[in-house]
Amino acid sequence: MTLAPALVPLALQAVETAHPLAATPAHWIWLVLVLPLVGAAVNGVLGVITDWRPGPFDPDPVHTGEFPIPSATLVERAERATPMVMTVIEGHRPRAKPGPGDHGDHHEEGDDAGSHAPPARHPFLGLVSIVGTGVVAAAFAVAVAAFLAMLRTPSEAPYVLTFWDWVKAGPLHIPLALRLDQLSIVMTLVITGVGTLIHLFSIGYMRDDGSYARYFAYLNLFVFFMLLLVLGANYAVMFVGWEGVGLCSFLLIGFWFTEKANADAGKKAFIVNRIGDFGFLVAMFLMFWNFRSLDFTPVMQGAAALPVGSALATTIALFLFLGCTGKSAQIPLYVWLPDAMAGPTPVSALIHAATMVTAGVYLVARSGAIFAAAPAASLTVVLVGALTATFAATIGLKQWDIKKVLAYSTVSQLGYMFVGVGAGAYAAGIFHLVTHAFFKALLFLGAGAVIHSMHHAFHATGRDDDAQDMRNMGGLRRYMPVTFATMWAATLAIAGIIPFAGFFSKDEILGATFAQAHGSVLANASWLGIPGSVVLYAAYVMLLVSAFMTAVYMTRMMLYTFHGPNRTGEGERHHLHEAPLLMTLPLIVLAVLSTVGGWLNVPPLLGALGPVERLGHWLEPVVGAPARALAAGAAEPTLGAEATLVGVAVLVALGGIAYAVARLKPASLVPKAVAPPEQPGIERLLANKYYVDEAYDAAIVQPVVQGSRKVLYRGLDVGIIDRIFVTFFGFEFPRLLSWAGSRLQSGRVGNYAWALLIGVVLLLGAFTLR
């Protein structure tokens, strides 16, 4: 795909049928895509100019121990290369690359200067910050303008902008087209809005990093691909975005790639996602084979024409959902997300909490007609979502790494969203996606501020300790009051306490699951012989249980991080400080959104609060038909029943918080270095994440590795290819031939004459006797 034409304002060539939005600012929606791409290009160029380059002996031979290079050689090479390498040799993570002017200082101050000298700033710090954040902010402005235009000019039909033909081969016709409709504009607003705040936060968080420009280039590129994913008008364009965000995720998880664990985490994310992408691809092939198109509109029409429960719709839906389990970290492919915390924390906030991981939820909502035609597949989505929500929540109960708690919390909340979209409550799923983007981005950014402060404290005294372990924190509310207050807002939101945003969205999913469980098409369908109503009731109970656990582990995290006595250390304590305004400002904005975000979609029960179900009505043209198809037959819950459900949900959340406050004693915690190992039994099982990684390793990774090594490498490559083809046919057989040939060359003229005679006689004889 050539992007060059998109860079010039040739988009005016877009062919649009007379759509009411054509004459409005919505026409400029393509700018939303181009701006982050330009930002990525500019920052990429600056990054290439300024980034330190890995030498021929990277990655980090000292740490991996793979290549035993004498350290004298390394030092010599390092002095010729950048001073960056010196920090690698000293065993410190290369956080900062001194600018060209700082080389002298570095060497003059001696060896220990490398790790404790104040880090030099990136030479293009200002330019990179303005470009990187500015393009996303501008994209947000364009998105808002488009949204306002859509509000002024209501239109049921999607506004499709076709730019040029991307693939034209026989019946396969894929245009590069964008589709602006009620669903994609919601996603675009979330991505650019939350994205802008996270870019802003990143300026403060990543300021001391030597690869500052590279970081913003990747982040801008991610925003571009994410917007392509949600704005694409067909599955193929969406797939380009889908793969692109996977690539950026890989690049950003392994951002500090000189440490092998980080690079491995990036690879793990990429490979696990490959399995899911296989499902997406197969689903696309099936769609094209049966519907002869990959555009959303004809595919949805084709799917809507299929009989309910048809094998084709079920197959396509299940393969699509396989793609979702990879991208959105559901059982069984969730394992990459906790490891993805190896990346910088703002990346975890943007990619692994607010936007990319919700792409699967968007995909299911976007493909609603297919899932509506396949109740069994929808029940699968519900079941997997509910299982993931509960499973991940239990693991979150026993993690010590503040980011790991949030990672499992994200997996759990994604499970919630899938229960919503699986149960046909597409608007509720998207609603939870939006509110989750607010409060989970806030939680991750808050955790980033905490880690930033902890890291500086450890850095100031030169102590080498875990800046992310909650056992090393405690009592931070005295040092970081803004972070403390905003994170509590997010905690109450995720726990589902009225009136925070999470309450409304969670409650809507719970209510929809309960309502669908009786009398609806979904309840009457069966999943592998189990009645749908049983699945839905079970999902409802599992969601309640996980709501309780969510409240427990979030309160636990807050208690251990911000309450009780401080455990950071005597020397380090007075280095703890609140983050700068650049970082607290996004926290405050997100805290406000997490608090009032629920007003987007007020349930009828609380109609006094404002207009009812605004988001639901807004999304109606896109997801209304499939939602009604799946809910057909279900009774609208009475206000009394709904009040009971809401009461139960809030009581469960409050119970979780109360339980955590009553049971957990932050005062009795000890720092990580002196902490005893977990009690055997359930505690250790949870702390070790049910040993799922180990089980996958034993069941899949090791057989593949050992099979590759023993069968493919030792057996096939060394045993057959090397021995027969290389050694025998390539070496021994020619040597035999040449030996035989050289025996004929006696060097005696007489022998040659005899050979000549015999040849002549044979030839003459042959001609004569013919």
């Binding site: 025996r743 060359q745 060097g747 005696r748 003229v749 007489g750 005679l757």
Partner: protein, 97 residues
Amino acid sequence: MIAEALFFSAVLFVIGVVGVLTRRNAIIIFMCVELMLNAVNLSFVALARLHGITGQAFVVFVMTVAAAEAAVGLAIIISVFRHYQTVDLENVNLLKG
């Protein structure tokens, strides 16, 4: 008449072939080669009586080439002798593989 000439030519040729195959002295082998050439010349001349003058013209060419060949061949044999102090071809096997 032609039959006798051709028979004699064949005898000469076979003597030449046998000489080349069995003898080791380079001079004798060389002479046997000349013998074969002359056997061919004889059959050319004999057959010229049937097929016209072309055969006799060929003989002139063959003798010219044979003279040149004799000059080159003898020169080679002389330099072989100078190098090896022998013209026994059993000992001259530099091309042995």
